[in-house]
Symmetry: C2
Subunit: 310 residues, 2 copies
Amino acid sequence: MTGLPMTVPDPALPARVRIHEVGPRDGLQNEKTAVPTAVKAEFIRRLAAAGLSTVEATSFVHPKWVPQLADAEELFPLLHGLPVRLPVLVPNERGLDRALALGAREVAVFASATESFARANLNRTVDEALAMFEPVVIRAIEAGLKVRGYLSMCFGDPWEGAVPVGQVVRVTKALADMGCDELSLGDTIGVATPGHVQRLLTELDGAGVPVSRLAVHFHDTYGQALSNTLAALRHGVTTVDASAGGLGGCPYAKSATGNLATEDLVWMLDGLGIETGVDLAALTATSVWMAEQLGRPSPSRTVRALSHKE
Amino acid sequence: MTGLPMTVPDPALPARVRIHEVGPRDGLQNEKTAVPTAVKAEFIRRLAAAGLSTVEATSFVHPKWVPQLADAEELFPLLHGLPVRLPVLVPNERGLDRALALGAREVAVFASATESFARANLNRTVDEALAMFEPVVIRAIEAGLKVRGYLSMCFGDPWEGAVPVGQVVRVTKALADMGCDELSLGDTIGVATPGHVQRLLTELDGAGVPVSRLAVHFHDTYGQALSNTLAALRHGVTTVDASAGGLGGCPYAKSATGNLATEDLVWMLDGLGIETGVDLAALTATSVWMAEQLGRPSPSRTVRALSHKE
């Protein structure tokens, strides 16, 4: 199986993509059993060693809401000196204070494109949530940090169904105007299809949000994540979120979030000759190791296929 | 979840796609436990009722090689009168005789793009296999049948690795020149990526094999089937092979073939506003029913997501 995938570039696609690895944060946050802090640190070290240049490390949310990431204060210092970007999620000013105290250089806030999810997740209206984030973003920028704005439910919402594109554009632009360096467009329930992706990206262009500031964050709940990624690449997007081994998307759980597996993404990008800096074999070995720690197989098809052959 | 996926067409893609459903043949042929003939017939009836216009019904191969489909003579008459196309696989003249005796109107032959697989699967060289198929194709055409030519290992081969595009073009053209109405390009081990798909389709154009005669048959072994399909649609392909529920691709078996799940395909095509005639809810219900018959869950992500919500 050497020489596979065969590399055949498509000149209409970018030459290089930066993968924003979310496994240690988005992937682990819903794990039921506690993952030891030392295992998380080792996971992040192995991801960095596999060539991922950005690894979202943890979240400074209140431990009551995400107990799995309650060890952020213990974990973050263990990562000191790793030669990669290590953004952390901060839900509010208190979270930002904690992240700043530990020397974080990048933070992310987590907004919603829909009223229903803003209410369910943050107990606020969309605009109230934006108002809550504004001082976080401003203070982070003043402190010299890079700030990413996550926008969830960009393509559909479990309560509202389809989400009007104009509504997504309005909230994305508000986060951009607030000063977020990067906007990650999340298909939280995995319902997007390629035409929908193209329309959102086109309307964001028209609203003056440049594609260079956009990232895409697709979920594989309906198996659509990679074709949506291809549509986004064709539009010029060069930052793609993915989760090593597809963590966060246990296929048999009702709570499946179904993150795009980083390995499935890298297989496609390798085949297209798009540089990522990632060593697929090392990444797969990392996900196999992490699956052993969690005691269940990876839902990534590429991890399964490559590890069956080992 | 009404109104999802949201329909947003892409004018660069075809308005209509014909799905060539392979579940009852390609999906079931490797099942270890015997599936009763009546269940197979009911499966095909339900697929037809869900709007699939072409359902590959069975194979007239020697029972010694594919015991699961040894009931072709019993099954085929049960389908009499179904208002859909019901192609059947025929490996040789003896198989064609059996299919003709039962009144089959469409047959398919199964060739290989690589010497290794021709040797493993047919115990012949590529050219010897083509020579064996020639009288089958000629006699089928004389009898007024439509003939499909399957070509396996078009993008990679487990023994040879990457397969030169020119080699695939040569064998595809030979099948086209022989008189096959339709050529189905198979990624048997699931290793293709979108640029590779585009290059093969472009070279087939150049060799005078029109895209209107091509079908694509992608496997999801590495999670690539749907993005490869999108690349093929962009090139003008309008016939796509898929297997209801992803049958034939048990994700935990070493022998995983990983057929593209019809439901995952229909979700994307529905979102793109591409007509297929398929009712996704009825199709999903059919795959849930079939999974109960087989005693294990469907590997289709769309089937899992939609049936969790029921």
